[in-house]
Amino acid sequence: NGATLSGLSPKMIHRYSRHLLLPDFGVEGQLKLSKSSILVVGAGGLGSPVAMYLASCGVGCLGIVDSDIVELNNLHRQIIHTEAYVGQSKVKSAASSCHAINSSVKLVEHREALQAVNALDIVSKYDIVVDATDNLPSRYMISDCCVLLDKPLVSGAALGMEGQLTVYNYNGGPCYRCLFPTPPPSTACQRCSDSGVLGVVPGVIGCLQALEAIKVASAVGEPLSGRMLLFDALSSRTRTVKIRGRSPLCPICGENAAFTRENFQSFDYENFTQSPMSDRSSEKLNL
Protein backbone atom coordinates (compact mmCIF):
# COMPACT_ATOMS: atom_id res chain seq x y z
CA ASN A 1 0.00 0.00 0.00
CA GLY A 2 3.06 2.27 0.02
CA ALA A 3 2.20 3.58 -3.42
CA THR A 4 -1.39 4.59 -2.67
CA LEU A 5 -0.31 6.32 0.52
CA SER A 6 2.26 8.45 -1.29
CA GLY A 7 1.48 12.07 -0.73
CA LEU A 8 0.32 11.52 2.85
CA SER A 9 2.95 11.97 5.55
CA PRO A 10 3.01 9.59 8.54
CA LYS A 11 1.53 12.40 10.65
CA MET A 12 -1.32 12.87 8.17
CA ILE A 13 -1.93 9.11 8.11
CA HIS A 14 -2.28 9.19 11.88
CA ARG A 15 -4.37 12.37 12.05
CA TYR A 16 -6.81 11.38 9.30
CA SER A 17 -6.87 7.64 10.03
CA ARG A 18 -10.66 7.61 10.51
CA HIS A 19 -11.07 9.06 7.01
CA LEU A 20 -8.58 6.65 5.46
CA LEU A 21 -10.54 3.70 6.84
CA LEU A 22 -13.66 4.75 4.93
CA PRO A 23 -14.15 2.62 1.80
CA ASP A 24 -16.05 5.50 0.13
CA PHE A 25 -13.39 8.09 0.98
CA GLY A 26 -10.03 6.55 1.78
CA VAL A 27 -6.55 7.71 0.83
CA GLU A 28 -7.72 9.07 -2.50
CA GLY A 29 -10.40 11.27 -0.93
CA GLN A 30 -7.97 12.59 1.67
CA LEU A 31 -5.32 13.33 -0.96
CA LYS A 32 -7.81 15.28 -3.09
CA LEU A 33 -8.96 17.18 -0.01
CA SER A 34 -5.38 18.03 0.93
CA LYS A 35 -4.82 19.48 -2.54
CA SER A 36 -8.02 21.56 -2.61
CA SER A 37 -8.46 25.23 -1.80
CA ILE A 38 -11.79 26.51 -0.51
CA LEU A 39 -12.99 30.07 0.08
CA VAL A 40 -15.54 30.68 2.84
CA VAL A 41 -17.39 33.97 2.32
CA GLY A 42 -18.60 35.14 5.72
CA ALA A 43 -17.25 34.19 9.15
CA GLY A 44 -20.61 34.34 10.92
CA GLY A 45 -23.28 31.81 11.89
CA LEU A 46 -22.85 29.63 8.82
CA GLY A 47 -19.15 30.32 8.33
CA SER A 48 -18.26 29.18 11.86
CA PRO A 49 -18.91 25.45 11.45
CA VAL A 50 -17.94 25.56 7.77
CA ALA A 51 -14.45 26.89 8.52
CA MET A 52 -13.92 24.71 11.59
CA TYR A 53 -14.90 21.46 9.86
CA LEU A 54 -12.97 22.30 6.68
CA ALA A 55 -9.88 23.04 8.77
CA SER A 56 -10.23 19.91 10.89
CA CYS A 57 -10.84 17.59 7.92
CA GLY A 58 -7.64 18.72 6.25
CA VAL A 59 -8.30 20.85 3.15
CA GLY A 60 -5.08 22.17 1.68
CA CYS A 61 -5.89 25.86 1.73
CA LEU A 62 -8.73 27.65 3.47
CA GLY A 63 -9.52 31.28 2.69
CA ILE A 64 -11.91 33.32 4.83
CA VAL A 65 -13.28 36.67 3.71
CA ASP A 66 -15.28 39.08 5.89
CA SER A 67 -14.93 42.72 6.93
CA ASP A 68 -16.94 42.44 10.13
CA ILE A 69 -15.87 42.77 13.73
CA VAL A 70 -16.87 40.18 16.37
CA GLU A 71 -19.76 41.48 18.49
CA LEU A 72 -21.20 40.02 21.68
CA ASN A 73 -24.54 39.34 20.02
CA ASN A 74 -22.79 37.14 17.42
CA LEU A 75 -21.62 34.67 20.04
CA HIS A 76 -24.97 32.94 20.56
CA ARG A 77 -24.39 31.20 17.20
CA GLN A 78 -20.91 32.00 15.85
CA ILE A 79 -19.00 29.31 17.73
CA ILE A 80 -15.69 29.99 15.99
CA HIS A 81 -15.35 33.26 17.94
CA THR A 82 -14.58 33.56 21.65
CA GLU A 83 -15.36 36.38 24.05
CA ALA A 84 -11.69 37.36 23.94
CA TYR A 85 -12.10 38.39 20.28
CA VAL A 86 -15.08 40.73 20.74
CA GLY A 87 -14.13 43.96 18.98
CA GLN A 88 -11.56 42.31 16.73
CA SER A 89 -11.69 41.18 13.10
CA LYS A 90 -13.89 38.12 12.50
CA VAL A 91 -11.42 36.81 9.93
CA LYS A 92 -8.50 37.10 12.36
CA SER A 93 -10.55 35.37 15.06
CA ALA A 94 -11.74 32.59 12.72
CA ALA A 95 -8.27 31.95 11.31
CA SER A 96 -6.87 31.74 14.81
CA SER A 97 -9.45 29.09 15.79
CA CYS A 98 -8.81 27.10 12.62
CA HIS A 99 -5.05 27.25 13.12
CA ALA A 100 -5.43 25.96 16.67
CA ILE A 101 -7.44 23.00 15.37
CA ASN A 102 -5.14 22.15 12.47
CA SER A 103 -1.84 23.96 12.00
CA SER A 104 -1.13 22.05 8.80
CA VAL A 105 -3.87 23.86 6.84
CA LYS A 106 -2.80 26.96 4.93
CA LEU A 107 -5.07 29.80 6.11
CA VAL A 108 -5.57 32.95 4.07
CA GLU A 109 -7.13 35.95 5.80
CA HIS A 110 -9.09 38.35 3.60
CA ARG A 111 -10.04 41.10 6.05
CA GLU A 112 -12.29 42.98 3.66
CA ALA A 113 -15.80 42.77 2.28
CA LEU A 114 -16.16 40.63 -0.84
CA GLN A 115 -17.51 43.01 -3.46
CA ALA A 116 -17.78 43.19 -7.25
CA VAL A 117 -14.52 45.16 -7.44
CA ASN A 118 -12.36 42.59 -5.63
CA ALA A 119 -14.29 39.32 -6.00
CA LEU A 120 -12.75 38.11 -9.29
CA ASP A 121 -9.25 38.53 -7.87
CA ILE A 122 -10.00 36.76 -4.62
CA VAL A 123 -12.26 33.96 -5.88
CA SER A 124 -9.94 33.05 -8.77
CA LYS A 125 -7.39 31.74 -6.25
CA TYR A 126 -9.73 28.97 -4.99
CA ASP A 127 -11.30 25.77 -6.33
CA ILE A 128 -14.59 25.93 -4.44
CA VAL A 129 -16.60 28.77 -2.89
CA VAL A 130 -18.89 28.52 0.15
CA ASP A 131 -21.53 31.25 0.44
CA ALA A 132 -21.98 31.82 4.17
CA THR A 133 -23.14 35.43 3.87
CA ASP A 134 -26.23 36.99 5.36
CA ASN A 135 -27.58 39.23 2.61
CA LEU A 136 -29.18 39.13 -0.82
CA PRO A 137 -26.86 41.36 -2.90
CA SER A 138 -23.84 39.28 -1.81
CA ARG A 139 -25.65 36.11 -2.87
CA TYR A 140 -26.23 37.41 -6.42
CA MET A 141 -22.70 38.80 -6.60
CA ILE A 142 -21.02 35.60 -5.42
CA SER A 143 -23.07 33.44 -7.79
CA ASP A 144 -22.32 35.67 -10.80
CA CYS A 145 -18.62 35.65 -9.90
CA CYS A 146 -18.59 31.85 -9.60
CA VAL A 147 -20.21 31.51 -13.05
CA LEU A 148 -17.63 33.83 -14.62
CA LEU A 149 -14.76 31.89 -13.02
CA ASP A 150 -16.44 28.48 -13.33
CA LYS A 151 -16.26 27.63 -9.61
CA PRO A 152 -18.77 25.40 -7.80
CA LEU A 153 -20.69 27.31 -5.12
CA VAL A 154 -22.01 25.73 -1.92
CA SER A 155 -24.81 28.01 -0.79
CA GLY A 156 -26.49 27.92 2.60
CA ALA A 157 -28.92 30.20 4.39
CA ALA A 158 -30.61 30.25 7.78
CA LEU A 159 -33.22 32.50 9.34
CA GLY A 160 -35.54 32.08 12.28
CA MET A 161 -36.02 28.34 12.70
CA GLU A 162 -35.39 27.38 9.07
CA GLY A 163 -32.49 26.66 6.78
CA GLN A 164 -31.85 26.04 3.08
CA LEU A 165 -28.92 24.51 1.21
CA THR A 166 -27.91 23.77 -2.37
CA VAL A 167 -24.85 23.64 -4.67
CA TYR A 168 -24.87 26.07 -7.61
CA ASN A 169 -22.89 26.10 -10.83
CA TYR A 170 -21.69 22.53 -10.45
CA ASN A 171 -21.41 20.08 -13.29
CA GLY A 172 -23.85 21.92 -15.58
CA GLY A 173 -26.31 22.65 -12.78
CA PRO A 174 -28.16 25.91 -12.25
CA CYS A 175 -26.77 29.16 -10.87
CA TYR A 176 -28.50 31.41 -8.32
CA ARG A 177 -29.97 33.54 -11.13
CA CYS A 178 -31.45 30.50 -12.90
CA LEU A 179 -33.57 30.01 -9.77
CA PHE A 180 -34.11 33.65 -8.90
CA PRO A 181 -33.86 35.74 -12.07
CA THR A 182 -35.66 38.64 -10.39
CA PRO A 183 -34.82 39.76 -6.84
CA PRO A 184 -37.66 39.67 -4.32
CA PRO A 185 -39.15 42.95 -3.12
CA SER A 186 -36.77 44.43 -0.54
CA THR A 187 -39.52 44.23 2.09
CA ALA A 188 -39.28 40.42 1.81
CA CYS A 189 -35.57 40.37 2.66
CA GLN A 190 -35.27 39.64 6.33
CA ARG A 191 -31.95 39.24 8.07
CA CYS A 192 -30.96 37.57 11.32
CA SER A 193 -30.56 41.05 12.82
CA ASP A 194 -34.16 41.90 11.94
CA SER A 195 -35.93 38.65 12.60
CA GLY A 196 -33.64 36.62 14.78
CA VAL A 197 -32.29 33.13 14.29
CA LEU A 198 -31.99 30.17 16.63
CA GLY A 199 -28.22 29.84 16.97
CA VAL A 200 -27.91 26.14 16.22
CA VAL A 201 -29.88 26.38 12.95
CA PRO A 202 -26.97 27.96 11.03
CA GLY A 203 -24.88 25.33 12.84
CA VAL A 204 -26.83 22.52 11.16
CA ILE A 205 -26.78 24.22 7.75
CA GLY A 206 -23.09 25.18 8.06
CA CYS A 207 -22.12 21.57 8.83
CA LEU A 208 -24.09 20.46 5.79
CA GLN A 209 -22.30 23.13 3.70
CA ALA A 210 -18.93 21.83 4.90
CA LEU A 211 -20.06 18.32 3.94
CA GLU A 212 -21.04 19.42 0.41
CA ALA A 213 -17.72 21.26 -0.02
CA ILE A 214 -15.85 18.14 1.13
CA LYS A 215 -17.83 15.97 -1.31
CA VAL A 216 -17.07 18.31 -4.21
CA ALA A 217 -13.39 18.64 -3.24
CA SER A 218 -12.86 14.89 -2.81
CA ALA A 219 -15.16 13.80 -5.66
CA VAL A 220 -17.11 11.55 -3.30
CA GLY A 221 -20.89 11.04 -3.22
CA GLU A 222 -23.57 13.08 -4.96
CA PRO A 223 -23.40 16.80 -4.18
CA LEU A 224 -26.69 18.67 -3.77
CA SER A 225 -26.72 20.08 -7.29
CA GLY A 226 -30.13 20.43 -8.94
CA ARG A 227 -31.54 19.62 -5.51
CA MET A 228 -32.24 21.77 -2.48
CA LEU A 229 -32.41 20.75 1.16
CA LEU A 230 -35.06 22.52 3.25
CA PHE A 231 -34.79 22.28 7.02
CA ASP A 232 -37.43 23.17 9.60
CA ALA A 233 -36.01 23.15 13.12
CA LEU A 234 -39.35 23.36 14.95
CA SER A 235 -40.56 20.06 13.54
CA SER A 236 -37.07 18.59 12.85
CA ARG A 237 -38.29 17.88 9.34
CA THR A 238 -35.99 17.95 6.35
CA ARG A 239 -36.96 17.59 2.72
CA THR A 240 -34.70 17.33 -0.28
CA VAL A 241 -36.46 18.65 -3.37
CA LYS A 242 -35.61 18.56 -7.07
CA ILE A 243 -35.06 22.02 -8.52
CA ARG A 244 -34.82 23.29 -12.10
CA GLY A 245 -31.61 22.82 -14.09
CA ARG A 246 -29.54 25.50 -15.77
CA SER A 247 -31.78 27.90 -17.68
CA PRO A 248 -30.82 28.39 -21.33
CA LEU A 249 -32.17 31.93 -20.96
CA CYS A 250 -30.18 32.79 -17.83
CA PRO A 251 -28.49 36.17 -18.40
CA ILE A 252 -25.39 34.96 -16.54
CA CYS A 253 -24.90 31.25 -17.27
CA GLY A 254 -27.31 30.71 -20.18
CA GLU A 255 -26.39 29.79 -23.76
CA ASN A 256 -26.37 33.36 -25.04
CA ALA A 257 -25.23 35.05 -21.86
CA ALA A 258 -23.19 38.17 -22.62
CA PHE A 259 -22.22 39.01 -19.04
CA THR A 260 -18.50 39.80 -18.96
CA ARG A 261 -16.02 40.39 -16.17
CA GLU A 262 -16.24 44.10 -16.95
CA ASN A 263 -20.04 43.99 -16.64
CA PHE A 264 -19.63 42.19 -13.34
CA GLN A 265 -17.17 44.64 -11.85
CA SER A 266 -19.43 47.60 -12.56
CA PHE A 267 -22.71 45.90 -11.66
CA ASP A 268 -24.47 47.57 -8.73
CA TYR A 269 -25.74 44.63 -6.68
CA GLU A 270 -27.15 46.76 -3.89
CA ASN A 271 -29.19 48.75 -6.36
CA PHE A 272 -30.28 45.61 -8.22
CA THR A 273 -31.65 44.06 -5.03
CA GLN A 274 -32.60 47.32 -3.31
CA SER A 275 -30.87 45.93 -0.27
CA PRO A 276 -27.55 46.71 1.46
CA MET A 277 -24.60 44.31 1.69
CA SER A 278 -23.76 45.33 5.22
CA ASP A 279 -26.30 45.60 7.98
CA ARG A 280 -24.14 47.20 10.59
CA SER A 281 -25.99 50.50 10.31
CA SER A 282 -29.34 48.80 10.89
CA GLU A 283 -28.36 46.87 14.02
CA LYS A 284 -31.09 47.31 16.54
CA LEU A 285 -33.32 45.33 18.80
CA ASN A 286 -37.01 46.04 19.10
CA LEU A 287 -38.53 44.14 21.93
Partner: protein
Protein backbone atom coordinates in the same frame (compact mmCIF):
# COMPACT_ATOMS: atom_id res chain seq x y z
CA UNK B 1 -59.78 17.79 -4.65
CA UNK B 2 -57.83 17.17 -1.48
CA UNK B 3 -54.44 18.91 -1.29
CA UNK B 4 -51.77 19.53 1.33
CA UNK B 5 -50.36 23.04 1.11
CA UNK B 6 -47.25 24.07 3.02
CA UNK B 7 -45.78 27.51 3.56
CA UNK B 8 -42.22 28.18 4.67
CA UNK B 9 -39.34 30.63 4.75
CA UNK B 10 -41.59 33.26 6.34
CA UNK B 11 -44.60 32.87 3.99
CA UNK B 12 -46.44 31.14 6.84
CA UNK B 13 -46.63 34.58 8.49
CA UNK B 14 -49.07 35.58 5.74
CA UNK B 15 -51.45 32.83 6.79
CA UNK B 16 -51.56 33.21 10.56
CA UNK B 17 -48.29 31.35 11.15
CA UNK B 18 -49.79 28.00 10.13
CA UNK B 19 -47.30 26.07 8.03
CA UNK B 20 -49.38 23.09 6.92
CA UNK B 21 -52.89 23.40 5.51
CA UNK B 22 -54.97 20.39 4.58
CA UNK B 23 -57.55 21.72 2.12
CA UNK B 24 -60.28 20.76 -0.34
CA UNK B 25 -60.32 22.86 -3.48
CA UNK B 26 -62.97 22.55 -6.22
CA UNK B 27 -62.17 23.22 -9.89
CA UNK B 28 -63.85 26.29 -11.35
CA UNK B 29 -67.51 25.75 -12.35
CA UNK B 30 -67.69 24.03 -15.73
CA UNK B 31 -64.13 22.69 -15.52
CA UNK B 32 -63.02 19.32 -14.26
CA UNK B 33 -59.37 20.13 -13.69
CA UNK B 34 -57.54 22.38 -11.28
CA UNK B 35 -54.44 24.12 -12.56
CA UNK B 36 -51.77 25.79 -10.41
CA UNK B 37 -52.95 29.10 -11.88
CA UNK B 38 -56.33 28.55 -10.23
CA UNK B 39 -54.84 27.27 -6.98
CA UNK B 40 -52.83 30.47 -6.55
CA UNK B 41 -56.02 32.53 -6.82
CA UNK B 42 -57.74 30.21 -4.36
CA UNK B 43 -54.85 30.46 -1.88
CA UNK B 44 -54.77 34.22 -2.14
CA UNK B 45 -58.48 34.49 -1.37
CA UNK B 46 -58.76 31.74 1.21
CA UNK B 47 -55.49 31.41 3.11
CA UNK B 48 -53.54 34.65 2.78
CA UNK B 49 -54.69 36.94 5.55
CA UNK B 50 -52.26 39.85 5.09
CA UNK B 51 -49.86 41.50 2.61
CA UNK B 52 -50.99 39.49 -0.46
CA UNK B 53 -48.27 41.27 -2.47
CA UNK B 54 -45.75 39.22 -0.47
CA UNK B 55 -47.31 36.08 -2.01
CA UNK B 56 -48.35 36.97 -5.56
CA UNK B 57 -47.20 39.34 -8.27
CA UNK B 58 -49.41 39.46 -11.36
CA UNK B 59 -50.88 35.99 -11.85
CA UNK B 60 -47.87 34.11 -10.43
CA UNK B 61 -45.95 33.99 -7.18
CA UNK B 62 -43.70 36.94 -6.33
CA UNK B 63 -39.98 36.75 -7.16
CA UNK B 64 -38.03 34.82 -4.52
CA UNK B 65 -40.74 32.21 -3.89
CA UNK B 66 -40.11 28.60 -4.90
CA UNK B 67 -43.11 26.41 -5.68
CA UNK B 68 -42.68 22.67 -5.21
CA UNK B 69 -45.26 20.13 -6.34
CA UNK B 70 -44.64 16.75 -4.71
CA UNK B 71 -41.10 17.82 -3.83
CA UNK B 72 -40.33 18.95 -7.37
CA UNK B 73 -39.79 22.51 -8.66
CA UNK B 74 -42.93 23.55 -10.58
CA UNK B 75 -40.69 24.87 -13.38
CA UNK B 76 -40.02 21.22 -14.22
CA UNK B 77 -43.68 20.33 -14.66
CA UNK B 78 -45.46 23.26 -16.26
CA UNK B 79 -45.51 26.10 -13.71
CA UNK B 80 -48.86 27.89 -13.83
CA UNK B 81 -50.30 25.32 -16.25
CA UNK B 82 -49.55 22.29 -14.07
CA UNK B 83 -52.71 20.30 -13.47
CA UNK B 84 -53.05 19.12 -9.92
CA UNK B 85 -54.05 15.64 -8.87
CA UNK B 86 -55.81 14.29 -5.82
CA UNK B 87 -53.58 14.26 -2.70
CA UNK B 88 -50.87 16.41 -4.28
CA UNK B 89 -48.53 18.23 -1.93
CA UNK B 90 -47.72 21.84 -2.84
CA UNK B 91 -45.02 23.81 -1.00
CA UNK B 92 -44.57 27.58 -1.23
CA UNK B 93 -41.25 28.61 0.24
CA UNK B 94 -39.53 31.96 0.35
CA UNK B 95 -35.80 31.87 -0.25
CA UNK B 96 -33.74 32.77 2.82
CA UNK B 97 -30.68 35.04 2.81
CA UNK B 98 -29.67 35.06 6.48
CA UNK B 99 -26.68 33.43 8.04
Amino acid sequence: MHLTLEFGGGLELLCQSTKIHSVDVKPKPGEDKLAMRDLLVWVKSNLIKERPEMFMKGDSVRPGVLVLINDCDWELCGSLDTELEEKDNVVFISTLHGG
